[in-house]
């Protein structure tokens, strides 16, 4: 098993994807948060509460949470690359107990996701605090709370990367897998929300669980407004984290079980 994890790290570190992923984390974390903080949520269209309010800070961090698509895509690409470049056959020749290969990939990408989340959250924290200081705005949320929220976002990034790995292992075809992952995260969930009744499920869907993790209620509030009658309540943050982890574990378990018996041709 150690051999397999070592092999997966070698596989990843030998490609350019690794560096690109770290750059993406810094650009999205530090860059995007920096620019948004500089502009100020009060100047957004439509305007959001300013950085000096709790809701304003939460909104920025919530938007950051929505970039979980990036690690999800990275995980999907990493796993499906084995099928696209036909190295899966070689890999399964060296490790015929296929669940071990997937388990090693999950372990490797959990570390990768954690590093990604750390860089993202770290650069976002630096950007947020320094821009606030430069603009002379005191954040509407105590610094430890900001850091705790950023930490949760970092963890969410890791979980999304693993969801990507699981979906990739399941679908195998790179383009199809990317369509499903991107399609669901950016379109599918929104479409689901339009079906009466289904939107009540929002809190336990990946998007809703991520929002719960960061207490980002923008989408839920908008939906409640449309519905008029029922108000949608997000799960408590800890439960949201749990639900999200369950998605990753399920995707991973499927990813581990399904490739076992499939023919590699």
């Amino acid at each position: 098993m150690t051999n397999l994890i070592r092999a997966e790290f070698r596989r990843l570190l030998a490609t350019r994807m690794w560096g690109g992923l770290l750059v993406a984390a810094a650009v999205i974390g530090g860059g995007m948060i920096g620019v948004m903080a500089l502009v100020g949520p009060e100047n957004f269209e439509p305007p959001l509460p300013g950085l000096d309010t709790d809701t304003g800070v939460r909104s920025l961090l919530g938007i950051l949470g929505y970039t979980a698509l990036v690690p999800a895509v990275a995980g999907t690409v990493a796993v499906t690359a084995e099928y696209r470049h036909r190295t899966a056959a070689v890999t399964f020749l060296f490790a015929p107990r296929r669940w071990q290969v997937l388990a090693a990939k999950l372990a490797t990408y959990a570390v990768v996701g954690l590093v990604y989340g750390l860089v993202l959250a770290g650069t976002a924290a630096v950007a947020l605090f320094s821009v606030a200081a430069a603009r002379g705005v005191s954040l509407g949320m105590p610094a430890p709370t900001v850091l705790a929220l950023l930490g949760r976002i970092g963890v969410a990034m890791m979980v999304y990367l693993l969801i990507g790995v699981g979906m990739g292992a399941l679908i195998r075809n790179q383009v199809a897998a990317l369509c499903v992952v991107i399609g669901y995260l950016y379109l599918g969930e929104t479409l689901l929300m339009m079906i009466p009744g289904v939107n009540l499920l929002y809190p336990i869907l990946p998007g809703g669980a991520t929002a719960a993790l960061t207490d980002f209620t923008y989408v839920a509030d908008a939906m409640s407004e449309q519905l008029g009658s029922t108000t949608i309540h997000l799960l408590p943050p800890a439960v949201g984290a749990l639900v999200l982890t369950m998605y990753a574990v399920t995707a991973a378990a499927i990813g581990v079980i399904v490739p076992m018996r499939r023919d590699i041709t």
Partner: protein, 312 residues
């Protein structure tokens, strides 16, 4: 780590894909210490069989074992069996060295083995180039290097001749002969008989997923026949048919057409000597396709034919 060859045993192996039966009730054994050719026309089921042998494809029925164990139950698969399939199984962004290092780690083989193989397979100069720019020959060599990482006792190569230049092929022959001489098990598939003719000791021939012939080449090939063109054909035919040969029975002679004979049971030199002794003219002497060659030719040229190669 054992580097001795192990016996490959395929028993009543069957693979169905929906309506299509790719391999049907196939049984044969491959012994260590010799090179075995796995022959058959394209689409005969060679690759499917080899994939079942290595656990990549699950058989519908039957078993395929290496040293008595199915591939998936081998304790150290890549140190036991080196298998090569697709010539194109690399991440384009990886260098040759990257690729080998990934699989060296996976199989628990030392990194020194990577450098060793890069040199041994003539890839040292290209070691740090990304595989995206590799020629087919280089890919084939890198594939072979991957299969040999664990210094395995059993080597399975699917169509290794594809993309290899004559020099590469001759090098491969040397390598495989060396492995067989060391007592290892070598199985190579090919749809081109001439490619492996000089190399293999044993053969397994399949067609449409079924066994056609298996055994030592020398036994299956049968005695050669000689086609003689001579203006004195009639006299020569009588002379040949009445000549006592060392082995006992005189050669059998068929008249193909006026001026041409087919001789069974005597080689070209024997025919020439006999003709010379009787002052008969010979314009042409051709040693003909052995029966296995004829059989294989029938299989490859007409995949729908049901007749075995008859005696010409």
């Amino acid at each position: 780590m054992s580097i001795d060859g192990l016996t490959i045993e395929v028993s009543q192996l069957t693979k169905r894909y929906g309506e299509i039966t790719a391999v049907r009730d196939l049984s044969f054994t491959v012994e260590p210490g010799v090179i075995t050719g796995f022959l058959g026309p394209n689409g005969a089921g060679k690759t499917t069989t080899m994939r079942m042998l290595t656990g990549l494809v699950s058989p519908t029925r039957g078993t395929a074992t290496i040293g008595g164990r199915p591939y998936r139950r081998l304790a150290r698969p890549s140190a036991t069996v080196g298998a090569m399939f697709d010539a194109n199984a690399f991440h384009p962004g990886h260098t040759a060295r990257d690729h080998l290092r990934v699989y060296a780690a996976m199989g628990g083989h030392p990194d020194s083995r990577v450098t060793e193989l890069l040199h041994q397979l003539g890839l040292a100069a290209a070691a740090d180039r990304r595989t995206r720019g590799f020629s087919t020959g280089m890919r084939q060599r890198l594939n072979l290097a991957t299969a040999l990482l664990g210094d395995p006792g059993v080597v399975l190569l699917d169509e290794p001749g594809n993309g290899l230049d004559p020099e590469g092929m001759s090098w491969l022959r040397g390598l495989l002969r060396g492995l067989a001489d060391k007592g290892r098990t070598v199985l190579i598939s090919s749809h081109v008989l001439s490619e492996v003719q000089q190399l293999v000791d044993d053969v397994v021939v399949i067609r449409r997923g079924e066994l056609v012939a298996a055994g030592p080449w020398s036994r299956l090939a049968g005695p050669p026949t000689v086609l003689v063109t001579s203006p004195d054909a009639d006299t020569l035919a009588v002379t040949l048919a009445t000549s006592p040969v060392e082995a006992g029975t005189p050669p059998r002679v068929d008249i193909v057409r006026p001026g041409q004979l087919r001789v069974h049971g005597l080689n070209a030199a024997g025919v020439a000597d006999l003709a010379a002794a009787h002052r008969l003219r010979v314009h042409e002497l051709v040693t003909e396709n052995t029966s296995l060659e004829q059989l294989f030719l029938d299989l490859t040229t007409d995949p729908l034919t049901t007749s075995r190669a008859g005696t010409p």
